[in-house]
């Protein structure tokens, strides 16, 4: 074979069978290492900084002090909450990229309750109404595109995206109505003196309640998707609508029902932000988490447990990137470059999990 005049191609690509989980994670680990090496090279070449110092700083950004750890956990909790919310829709192959808008209207409903019901209802009742209102608001925001999809087969990606802008404008409108002081253009801390509508502090830690709530949602979502009849219907509709019809699943109903759930959970995430941590409302309060959640969910292949890790990874990188830009006086863009490289490698490694490259004569050695 080696004497042949025409050459065998340098490599060709073939599909792998199922890889055992440890091999798949091995590939992902190698990808992460390769990404770190490339990042080091770029850091040295572009900035002249010691890459190991940079990595230590990234790590310190998340774990440098107990406060930072709590901020990390809080950020993970909110991001994970939105990610969990969009996941049932994704499992149904309904591309809900309106998490942003659903979160915002949830936050808006929360702020409305805090502002309008303060002094009208006792504090615990304000909180109950607040929770229900935020879920309802998110659910409505999710249901509108779902109903249109079910009835007229509209494109859910565009529709949910557009709903985000509507939500942003709606919030902007109410901020002007509720602004404190007049003309400030912002709301400021709501009920700062009375703390009405603020979620209670548990165990002396400001963020602990959020973390607990999201952990419970995560487990519940895992069970719902994998073991409930609804979860099964979602999976069938997602795989093939024709199969779903064939066994008598009402596809329209499943789409609307699932989007109501998805929207309601986004609403809860908005409520946790406004009622649990920030106690204010701005148009950018979501910090694009509705979009980041898409990545969290995809990277974890729509598995709620896996999403704990992927949301950790993304928040960790974000916090680290912020930290190096301040410590080294580098601008934020450099940190974004590093984050981009790492994500590129991690997403790219999925290719090597599904496919393998066969190099020239490589097959013979495997034997």
């Amino acid at each position: 074979m080696s004497k042949s005049t025409t050459q065998e191609p340098l490599f060709h690509i073939s599909k792998r069978g199922a890889l055992p989980w440890y091999a798949a994670w091995g590939i992902r680990g190698i990808a992460l290492l390769a990404a770190l090496v490339l990042c080091s090279l770029i850091t040295v070449l572009v900035t002249g900084e010691n890459p190991f110092k940079v990595y230590v700083t990234i790590f310190e950004g998340s774990f440098g002090s107990p406060r930072r750890v709590w901020v990390l956990l809080q950020n993970i909790a909110i991001l994970l909450c939105v990610s969990l919310a969009v996941t049932p829709a994704f499992r149904m192959r309904f591309w809900n990229i309106g998490g942003e808008g659903q979160m915002l209207v949830g936050g808006l409903a929360t702020a409305a309750c805090m502002i309008c019901l303060a002094g009208v209802l006792p504090n615990w009742m304000v909180i109950v109404v607040m929770i229900l209102a935020s879920m309802a608001a998110g659910a409505i925001w999710g249901a509108i595109p779902a109903i249109c999809k079910a009835k007229w087969n509209t494109n859910e990606t565009l529709f949910t995206l557009m709903m985000n802008y509507v939500a942003t404008q709606l919030v902007a409108f109410f901020i002007i109505i509720w602004e404190v002081p007049k003309g400030a253009g912002k709301i400021g801390i709501i009920n700062q003196a009375t703390e009405i509508g603020w979620l209670p502090v548990v165990g002396g830690q400001k963020y602990l309640l959020n973390v607990i709530i999201v952990a419970v949602i995560c487990m519940a979502m895992y069970v719902y998707l994998n073991y409930s009849k609804h979860g099964y219907e979602i999976a069938v509709v997602g795989e093939s609508e024709r199969t779903a019809r064939y066994v008598g699943i009402k596809v329209d109903r499943v789409i609307v029902r699932t989007m109501i759930l998805s929207g309601a959970l986004c609403g809860v995430a908005g409520m946790l932000l406004v009622g649990g941590t920030d106690h204010t409302l701005t148009t950018t309060i979501t910090a694009s988490r509705g979009f980041t959640a898409v990545m969290v969910s995809w990277l974890a292949k729509f598995n709620p447990i896996g999403m704990i890790f992927t949301s950790f990874l993304l928040v960790f990188l974000q916090r680290g990137a912020g930290e190096i830009s301040t410590s080294f006086g580098l601008n934020q863009s450099f940190a974004d470059i590093l984050t981009g490289i790492i994500l590129f490698f991690i997403i790219g490694s999925e290719f090597f999990i599904s496919y393998k490259l066969n190099f020239r004569h490589g097959a013979k050695k495997e034997g």
């Binding site: 065998e8 060709h12 073939s14 199922a18 009849k229 099964y232 999976a235 024709r242 699943i249 097959a363």
Partner: protein, 509 residues
Amino acid sequence: MENHAVAVEMRNITKRFGPILANDKTSLTIRRGEILALLGENGSGKTTLMNMLSGIYFPDEGEIRIDGKEVVIRSPKDAFALGIGMIHQHFKLVDVLSATENIVLGLSEKLDLEAAAKKIAKICETYGFDVDPKQKIYDMSVSQKQTVEIVKVLYRGADILILDEPTAVLTPQEADKLFAVLRNMRDDGKAIVIITHKMHEVESLSDRVAVLRHGQFVGELITAETNAQEMTNMMVGHATTLNIVRPEPVNPKPRVEVKGLTVRSEDGILKLDDVSFTAYSGEILGIAGISGSGQKELLEAIAGLQPAEKGSVCYVEDDGRREQLLGRDPLKIQEMGVALSFVPEDRLGMGLVGNMDLTDNMMLRSFRRGNSLFTDRKRPRKVAENVVHELEVSTPSIATPVRRLSGGNVQKVLVGREITSAPTVLLTAYAVRGLDINSSYIIYDLINRQKKQNVAVIYVGEDLDVLVELADRILVLCGGKVSGIVDGRATNKRELGLMMTRIGGGAHE
């Protein structure tokens, strides 16, 4: 057979897909001026082997020689340069372009449609093809599209042709026409390989037969010196019987009554036109027709998946009570207590969920059972184990996604689930399409067992040889109309073929 020059020699070809060995040191010789039939069960590596020859896959090991010279085939382009052309089961044509435009598509020569049309006309004349170079693809019948695919390959100068199950979509008359053309090409000195499951085609068309089993080359036979029985035994690896039994229906009673059923597709095209018939219990009613004559719509209308414009579909109980099925969805029909099972044509796109494992697929129809919010996987797991055991499904485990199974095993899983619910009506669409002989006979046997249990079976089929052996009565559809209902014991392939193309099958205009 005189000595023909060797065109292709494949030696010790090995190809793996992950842990699966598709070809294991397979060797094959293809000669000029000869039609070679490549035989083998599903998953025996026929198509993979041919895909390596036509540049779609690259072999892990082994060598390929064309006219005695070792070659490397990296891509379909390399294959064309060596004169190798493959006609796939699924046509790759652009609907809105004409035959000529499709044929020259992708060639780097100067675009001259006039000259190309002339060249095409010449090819057609040489081999007896019937193609209008100006006709658009969307205006063509399946057999015309196939002809365009063959001409496309010849236009590119192929003299080694590979056809993957070319007759799966053709009427017997069209298949005969194709065979005549293939014989012409053989006599012109071209090397032809045909992959097929139909024994009578192998016998009537090929000169030589090569048999693969589990990815390995088992042997070669001269067609004239062998018979279907011997070839099948070689393919399967042990002795088999090739008879379809047809027990007499016992005490048949009307079960499904279809009257004046008229169905239009979403674009308003008439798919079924005033179709009436009755299916009886304990009987197999065969449905024949050119593909797309309304078979799909008919079964789906009965199964509650296809709204109708007019007509009625009634389920008749033993005591004569009638229940209207039309306008009810599958869930309603199930809730009414009508045990109707449906094996659809699109197995992985409709009957099963490819990415789910056997257990989850078993519960597709039954997951709603019980008041619990949660699914019960214990029972489906048992059902899956039973189906795997009884129907000899070859699968690594019941936790394997069904899309990883071979075609025959996918169908066993689907049929297995559908008959587990003890149906009184069983609808099957192309139940053995793409299955090898062995799997096909298992399916025939399963269907016959249902018949003996007094199930009314409606069997849509494409292989007329099987229909005349299996069905008690055969309903022939032609363009959405009932062309006739004939006794399966008294009819023959010719008659059915004529009825498929002309209402009533009359030879006179």
